[in-house]
Symmetry: C2
Subunit: 135 residues, 2 copies
DNA sequence: TTTCGTTATTCCCTGTTGTATATTACGCCT
DNA sequence: AGGCGTAATATACAACAGGGAATAACGAAA
């Protein structure tokens, strides 16, 4: 990676500890991830891929590739876009896009809970017997 | 990354689905991760960083850097090494190294369980109401 | 018709990461 | 003393992901 100052990495700030990343795979690699979901939310907010990308300090090229990747892997596009017209065009998040956002944030919240639990269970129990977490 | 055919990536083979990576951070970035732990186990198996690296199709340089990173971030080294002598030298996993291996695999197993649960709970529930997982 | 801002697409360049290679230090062994 | 296989270290090289800039297409509005 070239630039570590991207939004995706700014939130990992309190080592040491139990860390992780989650995503949802599609047929061709990553389908939904943290950055992609934030991008969807910014597109919803600004109605424009260009503005969404700028707000995340992300190149338009990269943002467009992410949107394209999501749209190609989803059954129905998560982002609709049009060129020309009033304001030059724009983009919006479809209903399926909104579902994707909800789904991922649920996954994400569950994962944060999981990390908290692991910290509780494992951080000070690496003596000899490791208490098994009840699942 | 240059070569995706490394051990670290060969295991992600069944999209689509809920995926993730976990690791344990230290003061200077990653402290324990999947590849590092497998490397520790290979060092224990072969008694040599060189042979361990070869067995993972990893360059010695990279393997050594991982070992160095772990040793510098741990309170006591996870790997002991010596040059010269019978067989030219060698490396071994210390007691703290063994603890690290156990700790990470526990974390890893818990994470696999978590992913299975999420798949159960979220994969077919993205209609409108998302059932909250009991934590 | 011209203007405008966006989507969509292409090309070049750079920083990063890891490989490959070479070299030195080391200490037990024959 | 010399050989051996390893750790440790430095240098050069290759691949690649992503940034930046440039360009064309587009369609409503002035």
């Amino acid at each position: 990676m070239h630039k570590k100052n991207t939004l995706l990495f700014k939130r990992k700030v309190s080592p040491p500890g139990f860390c992780g990343r989650i995503w949802i795979d599609g047929e061709k690699g990553t389908f939904l991830g943290y950055g992609r979901i934030v991008l969807l939310e910014r597109i919803r907010e600004y109605g424009s891929i260009t503005k969404a990308a700028k707000s995340m300090e992300m190149s338009y090229r990269h943002a467009w590739e992410l949107v394209d990747s999501m749209n190609r892997q989803a059954q129905k596009p998560l982002v609709g876009a049009s060129t020309g017209g009033k304001g030059g065009g724009g983009a919006h998040v479809t209903e399926d896009g909104e579902k994707a956002i909800k789904l991922f944030w649920q996954f994400y919240a569950d994962f944060q809970d999981f990390l908290r639990q692991e910290k509780q269970n494992l951080m000070f129990s690496n003596k000899n017997q490791q208490r098994r977490r009840k699942v």
